[in-house]
Structures are given as structure tokens and as C-alpha cells.
Amino acid sequence: MQGIYTSVTKIRRQVFAAVAKLAYEHDEYSSIEELPYQIIPGEVPTYRDSVFVERAIVGERLRLAMGLPLRRADEHSALSKGVTECAVPKKFFSAPLVDVISFACNACPTNSYEVSNNCRGCLAHPCTSVCPVKAISIVDGKSFIDKEKCVRCGRCQQACPYSAIVHYDRPCAAACGVDAIGSDDLGRAKIDHDKCVSCGQCIVNCPFGAIADKSEIFQIIQSIKRGDKVCAAIAPSFAGQLGPLATAEKLHEAFKILGFDDVVEVALGADKGAVAEAHHYAHKIPEEQPFLATSCCPSWSVLAKRTLPDLVDCVSESDTPMIETAKVIKKRNPNTKVVFVGPCVAKKLEATRKIVAGYVDFVITFEELMGMFVAKGVEFGDLTNDEPLNDASADGRGYAVAGGVADAIVKNINALYPDKEVKVDRAEGLKDCKKMLMLAKAGKRNGYLLEGMACPGGCIGGAGTLMPLNKASAAVKKYQNDSPYEIAKDNPNIDE
């Protein structure tokens, strides 16, 4: 479902724009109470049974977008509770980052086999014959599955000649590659926060929009309003995400209108990382370390360290492109606040880690950024001061697409150490990442460079994107070709 624009997407984005507008245009925020009525107007429900429920859900989304916690559904508390306290020019939200708005959850059945209308009640009805626990019988001329008895082996589904038996899992759980989603006592989705690695895939795969993450737009705008110098570090997957008119040349001017001081490409940090990892691989693999795992995807690197507690050293210690880029910005001007703008939910969490927090002040997604552009009335079509982005090479820009990280590192190894042989394996989606890690654990990936990406397609498939995958990857290709430098090691900016 991800990558298809639906009513769920629409409401999510309207909320971001509304919160950004509230922050930019007001100094007192009790009017948040009115916003659910603007986003869900009228008295007739559009999406659910009741317009009141629709507004209550939007209310929770507004709170999360301001960085506030969810409210309990069984206690009175005003929508605006905490809005004054959260209007601060610094990081505000606290864990959990990703959570279920319980009363918005449809309590979808888990791992279920159902008989569809395709059942013709055939004479042979092989479904009943193959079921090992006799859970299927013919009731009123159609096949019927007794859910209590069913052991979910799927044999009836394979046996039916009319494909009448369908299998489905709850979409959130199916999207979660680390099995973090269970149920609460009412059968609604509940996230095990010890397992969750904040990839955000459940957010964009729940058809009821019941899962959301917290945002920092509100605090960023507070910082801007206070007069702080704020610099955007934009991830290479931005290409195309902000619309056909939002070309790289327009970014400087657009961010200035939002109140930012400057924009720097995160692909610059990626270039630095690619070269550092090329050296690392050439010197240490396999003599000192069995393999080298990339570290730029935070969900993947958390999973890797968790799965291979004895091999944490094999997960690259070179700083992620986000941190490397933030360091450059802080070096130029220590008082600048750094906002990482990317496709990624997990980066919000990465930036709360103590060693990172000194460099990266805030993290937002492209979707949230789009909300800020709308709130400020930025029209890319009307911008005239073109200023090209020239910080990074095609290698660093390629980090946005699955396979790009390994490609970049291999290219630089080949250029710097022509005799070194490189073996590569890679995986996208946490399920496959996990499989690859198990192989590594078993010693079957010794000598390898391992690239892991939690989101399908790589960063361009992140939860905070606005564009279908195929188009996004074409846009990144173009952005790579536009770079003045072909290979990371030749980018003069990496020495800064």
C-alpha cells in the first residue's frame, strides 16, 4: 500500500501543514482545539462511522506532530494539554517514537484464512479432505472454516481449484520485519518497543492510518522564530520528492523562505563514509575482521548489532552520512542548528543518541518538510534565484537507492586498491536483512561487504517519502548524473 496516495496519506499530510502553520503564525497555541474541525469539516463522517471519532484521531495525530505523547482514551485530558510546554526551540519528544493510536486501530485479524465468494461449494471439496484438524466443513453449500480449530497450515488454500481461500495477515504485522507487532487485550495492534527498530513501515502500511510517529516540525519552527541560525542537511533521496518543479537549484531559496540559513547535501557525508569504508575494508577484511556491515541505515544497524552482539565491531564504526554532514556544518559555524531532512523515521531516534545529539539538532521527513512549504506558501514555480548543489559526488548521491551504498564503496576500493578483491551481499527489507545477518553469524559471509537497508528499495522507500519507487529511483539517477564528481574519492569537499 505504501507509495499509493490514499485518504490516510492525505490526512497525515494535512496535519503536518496545519501544525507548521500554527507554529509559524501564532505565539499562543490553544487554537489547536479548532484544527480537527478544519481538517474534518461538516457533520457527516467520510472515513469511519462517526465524525467525532475521525476528529478524535486527527486530534491525536496533531499532538504527535507537535511531539506530544498520545493521550489515554479512558481519562479526560484537553487536546491542548502540553502545547505550551512543547513550544521550545530544542528537541522535545520522548520515546516511543512510533506508536499505535489504539482507538483508530481496526483490530485486524492476525494470520487468517478466510473463504471468499469464489467458493462454488464443489462436489469434490478437497479443502475438507486435506485439512489435518477437520476445521473445514460445508455449511449451506459453501466451505466454512472453524477459526477455533484452524491451525493456519494453508493446505486448504493450496487444494482449492478456484482460489477461493484467501490468506492474509494484519498489514502492520506483515510490514514489520522484526515481528514487533502483537495485540493488546482488545485485539488491537500493540508494538513491542524492545523489538521495534523504528523503521516506520507499519505507519505507511496500516490501511486505517492507526500508527504514527512523532514529529519535530513544531520545535524547529520555534527555533527559527527565535532567530537561531538553522541549516538543513538534506538526504540524497530528496530528488523528485517535492514535486516536478522542485529542482535541486531551487532548494536554497525555498529553505530561506522557511527561515533556514543554508542547505548542505548529506551525500557529502556519504562520500566521506564511502572513502573511509573503502580504506577500512581494504585494510581489515578479512584479516582482522570477518566482514564489514554498512551503518548508514539506522534500523538495519540496530538490528545488526542486536543480532550479532559478539560482532558489533563488524558494523562500520565510521559515522553515518547524517553525522558526518552535521559535523561539517558545525565546524563551519558551531552555533548553527542542524536539521536532517530525509525519508527516514529511524533517523529521528538515531539523533537522540547521546553521541549524535551534539551534532544533529532535529530530524524531519520530506513529507513533514512539504507541510512546512505549504504552510509558508512556498511555490517552487515562482522561485528565480537558482543556486546549484555541488557538495557531493554521484557515489554519495547514490546512497539513496538500495545497492548504492555497496556500489559506492566497491568503486572506491577498486580505485584506491586495484588489487583488492571485494565480495558483496546486500538485503533490503528487515526480514531479508535478518536472513543475511544469520548467514553472517554462521560464518557464511566472511570476507564480505554487507549492505543492509530496512526499507524496500532503500531510502527512497522510506516512510517519509512522497513519490512512487520507480520514479524516485529515476530522479536519483538524474541527480547523480548532474554531480560534478563521479567518484567519492575525487570530491574535493570531503577534506573539509
Binding site: 492525505k10 517535492l242 514535486g243 518543479l245 506558501g377 511555490e379 512512487p468
Partner: protein
């Protein structure tokens, strides 16, 4: 051959409200043109803010041969294009 010109507003509000997905839908329609026996040239033009978004809740906006459609969706635009080709 008949020509259908579709201007898809790519102003900020419309992009946020899904105009890129409308472009995607029209491109999908182009791919099945033969199957649907549609003999026409379909031209997609992403354009600057067309204006209506300034009033509440009218984005995304699409213009098909100068007919303005507000609160457009992919399915709506596709059926309008088919109608425009067939009449």
C-alpha cells in the same frame, strides 16, 4: 489524431495533496491505451500553482483541455480523459 492536454498542478499544496500520484495514474493510463482502444495523444504538463488551492480544500487541481477539475483524484482524472477522447 485527437490530442488531450492535461495540466497537472505541481504547486506545493497540490504536490502535498497527491498531484504526483495523479501524474502516475495518467502515465499508467497511457500504457494501457492500446488495450482500451484509445486513439489519442495524451500530453502531461506539470504546471505552476493554478490558483484554486488558495480557497480551502480544493487541491489537487488538474486541467483537461482547459476544463478545470478541483479536488481531483487519479480515478476521476482517468475517466475524464477517456470521456474527452471518446466524444
Amino acid at each position: 489524431m485527437k490530442k488531450v492536454k492535461i495540466e497537472v498542478c505541481s504547486g506545493s499544496e497540490c504536490v502535498m495533496m497527491g498531484s504526483m500520484d495523479i501524474i502516475e495514474a495518467i502515465e499508467g493510463l497511457k500504457q494501457v491505451k492500446q488495450q482500451l482502444k484509445l486513439k489519442a495523444q495524451i500530453e502531461i504538463v506539470p504546471c505552476k500553482c493554478l490558483g484554486p488551492c488558495k480557497n480551502e480544500n480544493l487541491a489537487p487541481v488538474v486541467k483537461i483541455n482547459d476544463e478545470l477539475i478541483t479536488q481531483a483524484t487519479g480515478d476521476m482524472v482517468m475517466s475524464k480523459i477517456i470521456a474527452a477522447i471518446k466524444d
